[in-house]
Point group: C4
Chain length 299, copies 4
């Protein structure tokens, strides 16, 4: 293992962006692995081995695990709408938006493939061997989000805009040093709790994607795995709503947070902000070292 | 974004109260957005997309998110009964009670409006297009709290008094330096857990409002959105109970906490209390700086 | 409020034990308030407003809230079996065992009374006005624990012994400096999670009291409130099992923990153990103060 | 107690491995005690006292409690697949793999025995007194994991590989100083949440053992307790899948984590890494002591 590691480290990519994309791929993979596998478990077991709430909870665990996994590498956006927001806020260069987004879609695609293989027998048994996107035996909703019956287009769009705006509005303060942030090491479970809340309250209309990659990746997988083009045409070409609406909602959530909250926060105390405690301690240590040397020389 | 920010900062309100009210509006908005949207999801999906427990949990997530959002701006009261308690305890000037309370009602009003638009199609489908407060197709309970059948007035009132007293009794120690407080950054999830507990145990009688704004804001919205004056007259003018009883229960909870617990807590150790660690370190640092200068001059 | 406080402080009891008992009364009151109210909500709503899991969760929230409430005053035992264990371990003087236990029973009694008044109408509606301990309309299981049908006495006793032993075995390491303890400020939610686990896994046989006060207090209340002596005679005098078995199980759990874990833990590093960080800092500070004075005098 | 302790300490095993095995035995015992007792409660109460979700949650609480219990003694592997991974990663000597694994199996065996005695009456009532592994009254699934109907062998194997790989992939970053680790004291609840996620999403096919000891221990117990050899022959000798597949999946998860994440993490800042804060403080303290002595001598 150690020798293999050395080789890998030597040939490891210099390109920071490529490493970040790797992180986003694996992170989104884990997020969808938990989420879609739970959806498969609940649907194919006909609720015997779970319920709607456990799918919501499993997506939340997926977010938490994915964040711990790739926070140190890529910042754990896991969502093109989040990456877009961070571009708007200046935390991510615009040129990285497309690579991040494609990585997220790829991660979601790969997770769908693993869940499909894992639940192949159960999906075949449930669907009677015919993979469809509509009807009583449809299995496409395991992977992608489906809208409820009889919704107007504007309701669907509004639903995804509000959901994603709520997401950004709720997660931005968690990491805002001028507000009351969560300890960095506990950010993942708190963000996961926000995701759980959104899934429990804003997922009836459209399935609560609030994430273009979470919906597009699985659809692309289904296209290649035998569900056919129906996965894009079903529900009157619904697929574009979770692609576009979150990209509108996320910056809107940021705007709300900055206009109503961030710009009105009291300025942080410069003393406590400029120097953090370990730095003070290191400074103390250095000065004492220096002083001991100084007095030794002059004694 | 940056230039817009500068303009906004320059024209930003000097008035601290106005900023605090903004915070309370957005905070209560988020709380009710999660809560009422979950109630809408569970009711209009006829429990297919959630259950009573997920509404309770969603309200709790709303509390957590709202607290992280506006704790740094307004203290995140989110509830006139909490604001009243803080006035009684001297943490909030009495002149701010009304602005805070009105802001909370306004936030709840706005959240109801967003949830109404978001779930418009589902509400229309569920109610058959007739918005009513009573009967099998009523949809008013999505927004406001309704009492159970056959309760006497004193039971309803007592229920809301006990619920709000329990709330204050359980959250006051969480932030009491003389007791064993929660780390400040983790206050929101712990308070949310208390809210979840109250919702799971004290919401059958009256829906567990324990918050005048949480109930009045949505009722006012429904009045303007087509439910009619029935939202105030239904259940024998029940609406005044969640308005008045929490204002009695909250100070009662404070009184219980102070009489039975706080006044009997051991006095905090003055040494560890007066100077916190970063202050000691800063002092150490300063003295060494001074001493180095002093010895340098005299050397 | 401030003047009232001063008077109260002046007349406040000198007796530390009395203050501790006050804490235990209020703590056990809060624990049972959440727990029994949830049981009442679920039973009288016929599972429309909750489920078995939400009763388990509500008891856990009650434990968390009660611990934050009285940890600083009384140590938050909330359970005579826990108090007994702490006597055995030498953390509580034996003479305090009886006062602690009686306080806990009193707190549970008072909570039952409040829940009874709060759910009076619902209990009357559910029971048809006849308060009984057995039969389809029994309401005694809201307050006290009832065994499942057809259990032998040894199974009941063993169930309560194992449950209480598991409780102590799982909570002792949480506060053991030689093991990997939880941060003190987060002890309550972790202990609450353990309680939730026990309630979800070991409550079918006997209702999972694992706490003599949690069962006896409500039974005494029911005796005085109209259920009659049947609350003690029902299920073949079952009431003594949750009174006696936890007092056996709790020391057994302690013994297991000490024999299998604690005595084999590596000895803590004396340097990091004897002096905690704030103490080092205070020492540093003091010495510099002294040294500055010393050099000033001799300069 | 104190004198008994002294004797025990004096005769306590010098052998560190034996102590670690004791820790693993008790830890796996606690894990299975919570998990299997919850399975027994839900099954024998015919879902009246719990649901599939509460079994998942109870296993998670078991993991959390077991980790707090034996983290300080043995590292709380609780799973031969985790021990194997730590051997591969060089955190555990290979010679300890077998003792660790056997201890985990023994702990699982003992927990099954306690759960069997605890739920003896309920199991007898449910099964009609005949202990079987298949059929409508089977009770073997309380203890061991059973596959769903009609799965191919490769699906079962793949399911266990993916589940265990997901486990390692999600828990390795939690304790990786180069990534964004969880505070050590909060590792148990976060790991438990990951376990909950896996149980909610990847347990339909094969019951989600992802742990050879969790499955083998209870099977061995059932063999000795009257279920007969059927516990090993049932479902076409399924028992070997949760024995072997996790040993493949766990190293695979490690490999994924290191290749995709760990090797691309930025190198940690050497200054903040080499010296932790308490060490700096101790150094400061020592130097001041020395300097005071030095100046005193020369004054």
């Amino acid at each position: 293992m150690a020798t293999l590691r050395k080789k890998m480290v030597m040939m490891k990519m210099r390109n920071r962006l490529a490493r970040q994309c790797l992180g986003e791929i694996l992170g989104t993979f884990v997020l969808l692995l938990f989420g879609c596998a739970a959806a498969a478990q609940v649907k194919t077991s006909r609720q015997a081995k779970g319920q709607y709430l456990s799918v919501n909870m499993s997506f939340a665990v997926g977010v938490m695990s994915a964040m711990y996994l790739c926070l140190g590498v890529s910042g754990a956006h896991l969502n093109p709408a989040v990456s877009l927001s961070f571009c708007v806020l200046g935390h991510l260069p615009w040129r990285k938006l497309l690579p991040y987004s494609l990585s997220q879609v790829l991660g979601a695609y790969l997770a769908s493939a693993v869940v499909y293989v894992m639940y192949y027998d159960a999906i075949m048994e449930y669907s009677g061997g015919v993979l469809t996107s509509v009807g009583p035996n449809e299995t496409a909703s395991i992977f992608a989000t489906h809208p409820a019956e009889g919704l107007s287009l504007q309701t669907k769009f509004f639903d995804q805009v509000v959901g994603t705006a709520a997401l950004l509005l709720c997660i931005l303060p968690l990491n805002d040093k001028r507000n009351k942030p969560v300890p960095a090491a506990l950010l993942p479970p708190i963000v996961a709790t926000v995701i759980l809340g959104i899934a429990m309250s804003m997922s009836y209309n459209c399935g609560g994607a609030i994430n273009p990659a979470r919906d597009l990746g699985p659809r692309l997988f289904m296209l290649t795995a035998g569900w056919g083009t129906e996965v894009f045409t079903c529900f009157d070409y619904f697929f574009w709503v979770p692609l576009v609406a979150p990209m509108v909602g996320a910056p809107l959530g940021c705007l709300l947070y900055f206009v109503f909250i961030n710009w009105h926060l009291p300025d942080p105390d410069p003393d406590s902000d400029v120097k953090c405690q370990p730095e003070i301690l290191a400074a103390v240590n250095m000065k004492i070292e220096f002083y001991l040397a100084f007095t030794y020389i002059h004694s």
